[in-house]
Symmetry: C2
Subunit: 418 residues, 2 copies
């Protein structure tokens, strides 16, 4: 196999049909940003939109903006923009609260739906992975401890153990579609099918897949999903999360966080809760409007392309990164953590290294921004909307130089003593 050159990468950028989307983002000079899987970069439109909301909608129009500027409708409007990216339809998604809070709603409602059916009422197990993003597990722990009805959480250690762990005692399966650390991508279709075959419901956390790859919630016949808008969807730091409920469950979807935004007539100020029909019953209290409104700018960019095009470039970028690291850093003890198979890979690549923490510090010091997760894992996220093929080359060159020169040694010493 002939070696790839920097010119090859530049040529790939030349023929990249998504290349122009980079202009929609504000990216710092001299930085190669490979951490969009943690915090997406800033769409240029976000700043303008924020100023409009702050200066005009808040500063000038004040209270009138709840109706006039559609603030109260934002969770639905953004949900409808987001829906096509995850294989959902209109009125199935709302953008609101945090991922943790939304997960709680879906877990609570899911367990209640199962408890209400004779054939599943006795089931007391929630299945997940030990390597799931911790807050997902914490929320399940919080819920089940509190319910105090004998629910337990069964955590498996590898994706391969999942199918056996989902069985006739399983009330609900809670999985993150793409693992935050390894980048492993679950087979949503197959796991959903298996869960249903076993009589369980399934809740997908799309934090690392929404906006990163095509998700087909309805096609997979999934039950519930939650996710984040500040990673691949570029909504801004901590921008509100989303929740999707399959239309067939919406009528039975009841959760304990029954705040006024989920009421059938929120402004009639009745002293008794009555859930509004449809997905807006997943809402609870008043939303942070500026952060919410800005999330629309990230979503609007996606409306101009397709998740298929994004996925093609994502796989090309991650393939290239793996190939270049393995070619150009071959003599260094880097271990690929992310699956090689496209069907099992999200939009990030993780490599482990004994001095992973220190190496990542050196990379960041030289403007290549990835991040680090124990044990020894360097994460590199590839956001097709703004990462170029030549960035991949330059990032690998920087990595190679750091490893060749042991430039990370000082950082390694620092890490060892803290």
């Amino acid at each position: 196999m002939t070696s790839i050159t920097r010119d090859n990468c530049l040529a790939l950028d030349q023929s990249d049909t998504l290349a122009d989307f980079r202009n929609d983002f504000s990216l710092p000079e001299g930085t190669i940003y490979l951490d969009g899987n943690s915090l997406g970069a800033m769409p240029k439109a976000s700043q303008t939109r924020a100023l409009e909301v702050i200066t005009k909608e808040w500063g000038t129009d004040l209270i009138k903006s709840w109706n006039q500027a559609g603030w109260f409708d934002l969770p639905s409007r953004l949900g409808n923009l987001l829906a096509p990216l995850i294989g959902a339809a209109d009125n199935e998604v709302v953008v609101t609260d945090s991922t943790s809070i939304n997960l709680f709603k879906a877990l609570a409602a899911g367990l209640q739906i199962q408890a209400g059916k004779a054939e599943t009422a006795q089931r007391r197990v929630i299945v997940s992975e030990r390597s799931n993003f911790p807050t997902d597990i914490y929320m399940a722990q919080g819920l089940t401890r509190w319910l105090d009805r004998g629910y337990t959480i069964r955590l498996v250690d590898t994706p391969q153990e999942l199918e056996a762990a989902i069985n006739a005692d399983t009330a609900l399966v809670m999985l993150t579609h793409v693992n935050y650390r390894t980048g492993y991508l679950h087979d949503m279709q197959e796991l959903t099918r298996h869960a249903h075959q076993q009589g369980a419901l399934i809740l997908w956390d799309l934090a690392h897949s929404a906006g990163a790859l095509p998700v087909e919630l309805n096609q997979a016949n999934a039950d519930f999903a939650v996710g984040c808008t500040y990673k691949y969807l570029n909504g801004g730091p901590g921008s509100p999360a989303f929740i999707w409920v399959a239309p067939r469950h919406q009528e039975a979807f009841h959760h304990p966080l029954s705040g006024w935004w989920g009421h059938a007539s929120p402004f009639s100020m009745q002293p008794s809760f009555e859930a509004t029909p449809g997905i807006r019953r997943a809402l609870c209290g008043t939303q942070p409007i500026v952060s919410l409104a800005m999330a629309e700018c990230g979503l609007q960019i996606f409306a101009k392309t397709s998740m298929q095009a994004i996925r093609r470039k994502s796989l090309a970028l991650t393939d290239l990164f793996i190939q270049l690291v393995e070619q150009r850093c071959a003599q260094h003890p880097l271990e690929l953590v992310t699956p090689r198979q496209h069907g099992q890979r999200g939009s990030q690549v993780s490599f482990s290294h004994t001095h992973g923490y220190a190496v990542m510090q050196s990379l960041i010091g030289r403007g290549v921004i990835g991040d680090y997760r124990e044990p020894g894992i360097m994460r590199f996220g590839f956001t097709p909307l703004y990462v170029r093929f030549v960035d991949v080359w330059d990032a690998v060159e920087t990595l190679r130089d750091i490893l060749d020169t042991r430039d990370y040694a000082l950082n390694a010493t620092r890490h060892a003593v803290t």
Copy 2:
């Protein structure tokens, strides 16, 4: 009694020690804004701060800002700024999530604390008011239905019935300090004392009192409090809410929304939840940073004055408004809903009128922004930091003219047919 004149009001503004704070806000031309009890006006600093967070902290520094810009610490930093306004100390308050969500946490933790003590374990009643802000009641309904352990909510119809309703079966009392509709102010000290005497815990919703009048949570020996930062605290539309837990309850404060921000070591990614010591255990998921950071601007203004000075002006404004309406609109059927006694009045005045809705529409049409609540109630909020005495005069003159000329008649017809 001699009549008050517009010149008298201008003179009051001249000698008002808080007058200069109006310059800290951006207020629309030609508007008298008497709805700060619903959505506070915009501090000028908010726009600058938002741009700094968006352009520099997000756009340029990206992921580094979680530590470098102190994003992760914002809930505590803002909580400590807010604490003195509500009679709390450092490390007792965090700004996070919505009021509804925070109320849920406090209710859940409070009931659990009661259930854990032999002498209160059997108590199953939550006492509140039917006229409480509905979402507070909805959240209690959501929680208790869901717990399914026989908890009931006892709603009283008047403040006078409260003491009798809080008795030996009461686990928890949940009250909004100032009623959103009538402006009635509860005696926090006395009701807290009575609740404790009866063995109950008490949870105060400060949505309409934080920033409006001095609140003394520790002095009153209250147990829990929640509240809103986008009304009198001018944090911006839907800016995150706050929660306070009395130091004596913090160790036992456990709630089911146990997300990673409340974990003892949130970045160690352990698969088991362990609550962090102190008030940060009331945190759950990732916060909307732009909306959160902007809330600091509202709070910083308060640091330059005292709640006592604000209260003095608030009472002077509401006294003046009542007096002027009663003098100048004497021949019209307006009924004062808000208590005349200072000790029972928040920072708003409500008048009812058969055509209250229509009259309020006319007022808004002429630039006097209050709001309307059924049945027939016109609400006027007085925010001492930016409302002038002459505004009170001009608002009453506008009201008088609308009533004298029956300018509201067309609106009344419209209201009747919708």
